[in-house]
Amino acid sequence: MKNTAEVIIIGGGIIGCAVAYYLAKRGVTDVIVLEGSDHIGNGGSSRNGGGVRQSGRDVRELPLVMYGIKNLWPNLSEELQVACEYHQDGNLRLGKTEKHREILTKLANNAKGVGLDVRMIDGDEVRQINPYLSDEVICASWCPTDGHANPLTTTLGYYKMARKMGVRFISGEPVKELRLIKGRIRQVITPNSIYEGESVLVAAGLDSREILTTVGIDIPMTNSLLECLVTEAQPHMFDQMLGTAEADFYGHQTKHGSFVFGGSSGLERYNKDNGMVSNSSKTAPCICRGIMKYFPNLANAKIVRTWAGWMDASADGVPAIGKVEEINGLYVACAFNGHGFGIAPAVGEQLAKLITTDTTDIDLYDLRYDRYKAKI
């Protein structure tokens, strides 16, 4: 089989799959997606908490995510012929202290500045929206157009459709090196093969750094092991996406009835794994304690599964998306900082447009790969 294609996408996560799908939708089906692991969508794409959220984000990435929520998410299930389980029932970012109120107010004000409908509400109003929350909650930022979806089916939905439309996916092909030929990106090298493409997109999460290094591009990223857990199915309680000022937990109740919650122990930057992205023994109990402060009546809900995933954290907490100006044909989309899921459809669609037309609807200038500068 031929190993050349118009576009080679490195990384079969939701970004890679979405770009592949939107490329195919634009008629470009001569695309190869190389996934390093055995499974499509095996990184953060399948391990996140499912937030489709605008509030709480940095203003630089807000336009992109707002675009996606307005234009792409509402019809995604239909488009991908899969149950994305998208719910647009708002996001409550909860606070328990005055300090929390300060943090939340600042975030909300910033977002309002770029036109997002988000406001601060008090504890009583919070409990009108979600009556299960404890009295410890004194305030929240409320963004009614936020929501959540199922990351597993959404990621695999993009994959399924792209594959169906003719995109070639190869898993178990970890990319080790990129190579320029005559001043242009051309070769993508794995331990087993050399692939060649007119355009190459690096969307390999944390591994993107090492791959890009081989052509002299460095995106300052580090890793952090984040963890999630899921409960057994419970009777339906609420549909909002939740987060907290303290970042002790976030999550939602799924269509299935289970609660998917993520959270942190404060040790994530220093966690290690055994090569299998394993949980730390400390985190899940900590997340449980966090949740129970907000939802005392979930105390009896049973956890059936926990998991972990590496987050690709960039120096300024915002992703690198777009064209690598200095190397013809090279594009990046990485460093999503643990919230790449909600923004993925917009990234996918805009990058496909960028690769095929060299233009975008949303200005990606603030997200460019070489924006990282020293502080003084």
């Binding site: 057994e232 199915a233 419970q234 009777p235 009835g257 009896n300 049973k302």
Partner: protein, 109 residues
């Protein structure tokens, strides 16, 4: 109803049980022995259906009896998804058929 409790076993003899106690199954009073699995008491009372599934509304009962398959779950004292095959029976327990994840029949959910 056929006799389901083994009175005397040729090898194991007469098995020791806890105190005879009462609990309720869907509101009806049933007898069992304290400390035996809820499922054993229900079985002894001739009750087979522990729950109806969420999607297809199909009946389920004891399948593995060791807490692994989770088919025997019921709503016990208001808590859904209790594995009755490994949960010890206590006097006065309120054991209910589980419909999906609720103790309310589907037409009332």
């Amino acid at each position: 109803m056929p006799v389901t409790r083994i009175k005397e076993h040729p090898i194991l003899g007469v098995q020791e049980k806890g105190n005879r106690i009462r609990f309720t199954f869907d509101g009806k009073e049933v007898e069992g022995y304290e400390g035996e699995p809820i499922a054993a008491a229900l079985k002894a009372a001739g009750l087979m259906v522990h729950r109806y599934t969420k999607k297809e509304h199909k009946p389920r009962g004891i399948f593995c009896a060791i807490g692994r398959c989770t088919d025997c779950v019921m709503v016990v004292d208001g808590i859904p998804n209790v594995r009755t095959c490994i949960t010890p029976l206590k006097s006065g327990m309120d054991v209910r058929t589980q419909y999906g994840v609720s103790d309310k029949p589907f037409d009332k959910q």
